[in-house]
């Protein structure tokens, strides 16, 4: 029998519980495997800062029937991500120092309501930003790193996916600890620069630095670097947050439509399904096509569904 106090708690708590249930974003699964999209896949979006950018991403996710995404900073911040210093080549532009400073000023001064408003737009549509894709690099100041972690939390992200380098990962240690938020390192396939994430060894070095360092394994780039994605996932599944699903040829070969490259997409998806690894599978469309992105991402998703059928 309920006491008056229990009844009171129930009456007060019920609306909040109902609200929480309604707000809990859906999760898209296929045969138990969670799917999402890396928003880089949408190549024909309005430019950074355009008011239609976020609504278009939301519309695309709804059209795909996929509830979560890893969103690029260039899709959140009102300036192109080239202004944030990740690409070393872009730092050589004479305009870069001024543009970089403008980006920093914006980050340090923008209200967190800016990010909360974007989160609300996703949640109102029954979607969620699971990961914030920020490419941390040496041009960040500490204050900027702090604000970026706060921004990720305001967006509702659980952590970051980051194309970064080992030297920057070492700088991030106090920030992941202070904000209690993980960073998942994303790989490319530059095998000559030991600071880049491209090989099992480079990931293992970062994983040993902090328990809050994880992996976003891009299985296409990993294959292009002649690594074995299946073996890596078997060995490190407990530290992999998500994979980027794309198909590339080996030997630094190009991106290809799913099923036409050398990437073991089917094997990887089935490995995750059969072992119930809690690894999210995020579609990343980057091969060439005359069709618009949404149509191609649908094709990519169908390939994955067929692989798991």
């Amino acid at each position: 029998m309920l006491s008056r106090r229990d009844l009171g708690r129930l009456l007060v708590g019920a609306p909040f519980s109902a609200w929480a249930c309604q707000r809990r974003p859906a999760v898209t699964t296929v045969a138990g495997v969670v799917f999402g999209v890396e928003t880089f896949s949408f190549h024909d979006l309005p430019p950074s800062g355009d008011p239609q950018l976020i609504p278009t991403i939301i519309g695309n996710l709804k059209a795909l029937g996929i509830a979560e995404c890893e969103i690029m900073s260039g899709h959140i911040e009102p300036f192109a991500s080239v202004m944030t210093g990740w690409w070393v080549q872009s730092r050589r532009s004479p305009d870069f120092p001024k543009l970089r400073e403008e980006a920093r000023e914006w980050r340090l001064n923008v209200s967190m309501d800016y990010y909360r408003n974007i989160r609300r737009q996703f949640e109102d549509a029954g979607l969620r930003i699971h990961l914030y894709n920020v490419n941390f690099n040496e041009t960040f100041t500490d204050a900027e790193r702090d604000r970026t972690f706060e921004a990720a939390r305001a967006l509702g992200a659980e952590g970051f996916s980051s194309s970064t380098v080992l030297s920057e990962a070492r700088r991030l240690v106090p920030f992941v600890e202070r904000h209690k938020m993980f960073v998942a390192m994303h790989n490319h396939n530059n095998l000559t620069d030991p600071d880049q994430f491209a090989t099992p060894a480079s990931f293992e070095t970062a994983l040993a630095i902090s328990p809050l360092f994880h992996v976003t394994l891009d299985i296409g780039h990993f294959t292009a670097g002649n690594n074995d994605a299946v073996a890596f996932i078997r060995q490190h599944h407990d530290r992999i947050i998500n994979i980027h699903v794309r198909d590339r040829k080996r030997n630094n070969g190009p991106n290809r439509p799913f099923g036409q490259g050398d990437t073991p997409i089917r094997e990887v998806l089935r490995l995750i399904r059969d072992n119930r690894y809690p690894i999210r599978c995020y579609l990343e469309y980057e091969y060439g096509s005359f069709r618009f992105s949404l149509d191609e991402v649908k094709t990519c998703f169908q390939y994955c569904k067929d692989a798991l059928a």
């Binding site: 070393v88 530059n190 620069d193 880049q196 780039h221 070969g253 005359f290």
Partner: protein, 239 residues
């Protein structure tokens, strides 16, 4: 009071009527603009605008299906992800039918920060088609940049003469071409237009490109704004 009120009401009514029409008109225009934007265009797709000739469209197909446009931009000017701006790259400027571009495309740039992929499977003829399409895009991009520049530096006639001697004299003999220019007395704007691109704005199937036009297109790919202004200054001074 009543007439005043009526008058005001009437004015309000007329104003409202005009506003309503304005709103309807704006809505129709916006809708039409939206439809135009959303509707698939006949001359463009996700890879950009269709090429003006069959041969160039072959090149565009290779360019798009190998996702070159994702990094280098569909018109070469909007390079992203640290990729080279091919509209001003000296390597592309010096290339002829893929003799420089082909080596990079085939081998890729594995040491680049995010590694440009290798397209080793492209055949020799595909490389030629791809390179010619890249040159076409570059010519269009350079023409846009040079013809529409908001401010141009004043030209130096002496430097223009030097440029002319080094790059133009093999075709334009001083005696013939320069007296022609003097006779026609082109103004600076016309001279500029003719220096940049004396031929048609784009090639067309069935229309041969003369050797002279081809030479001008090669120059167009490599002109700086200063080169053009110097040439204008030099040629304007010949009277």
């Amino acid at each position: 009071m009543l007439p005043i009120l009526q008058g005001r009401a009437g004015l309000a009514s007329r104003t409202l009527g005009a506003s309503s029409w304005t709103i309807v008109l704006v809505a129709v225009v916006c809708l039409a603009a939206g439809l135009l934007r959303a509707a698939p265009s006949q001359d463009r797709d996700a890879g950009g605008h269709r090429a003006p000739t069959v041969a160039l469209e072959r090149g565009r197909t290779i360019f798009v299906l190998n996702h070159c446009h994702f990094c280098h931009g569909e018109d070469l000017t909007r390079a992203t992800m640290g990729a080279a701006n091919l509209s001003v790259s000296p390597l592309v400027g010096g290339d002829v039918d893929g003799n420089a571009i082909g080596a990079i495309v085939r081998a890729g740039l594995p040491n680049l920060q995010t590694a440009m992929p290798s397209y080793a499977e492209l055949t020799a003829s595909e490389i030629v088609d791809l390179a010619r399409y890249i040159h076409y895009l570059r010519q269009q991009a350079r023409h846009r940049a040079l013809a529409t520049a908001a401010s141009a530096p004043a030209g130096d006639a002496a430097l223009g003469q030097r440029y002319f001697a080094a790059n133009c004299r093999s075709c334009h003999s001083a005696a013939k071409a320069l007296t022609g220019i003097a006779r026609n007395k082109y103004d600076s704007a016309t001279l500029r237009t003719r220096i940049l691109r004396p031929g048609p704005a784009a090639p067309a199937d069935g229309v041969a490109v003369s050797a002279g036009q081809a030479a001008h297109l090669r120059l167009l790919e490599n002109y700086t704004m200063e080169n053009v202004q110097d040439l204008v200054a030099y040629l304007s001074g010949i009277r």
